[in-house]
Symmetry: C2
Subunit: 246 residues, 2 copies
């Protein structure tokens, strides 16, 4: 029988936490310290080996909490990454040698992702994370291991999901303008969306309640506020959009 906190040396989890800050999409990255106290300049997704006695979802939650203090996120699996050379970059090799008992063993990682409102979470570095920061997606450079590839895959999965379900609507404040919703969709899809077309399609979904209230103190014509119809929204999350219509 494995002990409760025995590590599985061959399987890890990595978390892609995407944060919307009312304007842009960001990803949560850690700077890592070597066990001898030195640091390197490589940013990485918060990830680590799993314990023998926990399932993959539990491992992802635990590792995220241990490295960043974040908790209570809805983590969705994006798949496994198992290139035999995924740990082969020199700086990664050096880091592994200082923190792993078996630094040469092949590790398969399972990626999880989540989309949150950045303002609701305050990450704090801990364990081997010497720093933790939100980085705008367009500013992400060369990450550790195969983490760029993992990030790209998770973004793709998010964009596919948003095409069939109204994910992300709940990242907005309780009362919001159509302009804010429009900006959220542009940030996630990383492309400009025609404003008039967008509004027409959103209205057609019939999940918004128009409020008898407008913006105040704005330099432009004040926009109306909306809120979600929770019941209709939940129904749409379950059934998905009509899309191809089957």
């Amino acid at each position: 029988m494995p002990h409760l906190h025995d590590l599985n040396p061959r399987v890890s989890v990595d978390n892609v936490i995407l944060g919307f800050d009312d304007e842009n999409l960001n990803v949560l990255l850690i700077g890592r310290s070597l066990s001898d106290g030195r640091t390197d300049d490589v940013l990485a997704l918060p990830g680590d080996l799993i314990f023998e006695n926990e399932n993959l979802e539990m491992a992802a939650e635990r590792v995220l909490f241990e490295l960043t203090g974040l908790t209570d996120l809805f983590l969705q699996q994006a798949g496994a990454f198992g290139d035999p050379n995924r740990l082969a970059k020199p700086k990664d090799r050096e880091w592994l040698k200082t923190v792993r008992q078996e630094p040469d063993v092949r590790v398969i990682t399972i990626a999880f992702f989540s989309l949150v409102n950045m303002n609701d979470y305050t990450p704090q570095p801990a364990s081997f994370a010497r720093s933790v920061q939100w980085v705008p997606i367009q500013d992400v450079g060369d990450l550790a291991f195969d983490h760029n590839r993992i990030l790209t895959t998770c973004l793709k999965r998010l964009r596919e999901t948003i095409a069939i379900k109204p994910v992300g609507f709940n990242l907005l404040p309780v009362k919001f303008t159509l302009g804010q919703l429009h900006r959220l969709y542009e940030a996630i899809l990383d492309k400009p969306l025609d404003k008039r077309n967008f509004r027409r399609k959103i209205q057609k979904l019939d999940i918004l309640t128009h409020l008898d209230e407008k913006q105040e103190g704005v330099p432009h014509k004040p926009s109306s506020f909306y809120k979600f119809n929770e019941i209709k929204y939940q129904k749409l999350v379950e059934t998905g959009f009509d899309n191809f219509g089957f």
Copy 2:
């Protein structure tokens, strides 16, 4: 350095091969032999441990070929399955003891799936597969390990994919009727679809070419044959349906 054919004792792949036989959806299952020549009555997905030097996709292709002789399939990853108790059922334990060097070690499996026309493939059992058979989805009983869960997940993924892309259209003969296409979609989605509504939506996709040819020798009013417009079809596969329309 690991040797070319060193097994990774902690990571396996499993393949969910879904076969359409012009009427129903089936899944490819193997009966397994114990290394002492006995057999058990448990059916399983074709799966096995990965080699240290191959990536996950290569492992899935190799294992599928070794157990069933099938080759040249487009395998898509459905995710990782890592419940610590996934190997705990008594018959599975017994089988593992006869075939594995470390039967007690925890194994994470990565699932792959593919949708094919059954008539194009003739599986042959080999290695520890004593038999291989296509089983209609609705007749699948209790499978080995967590294979029922894996099958369910893959079916869900397939249905999500078909909502955003025209997968599966290429399972039909070169010339086909709208009735055949309708039946394919009913089989994949496992529910009746209104015929008139279905035809309207398919026509709207604008990927079919109407042929100047009809069925012959059928007891009902002969239906027209269609073929795909390959260029428009490929474009739709890449862009996805207009669905929510972003």
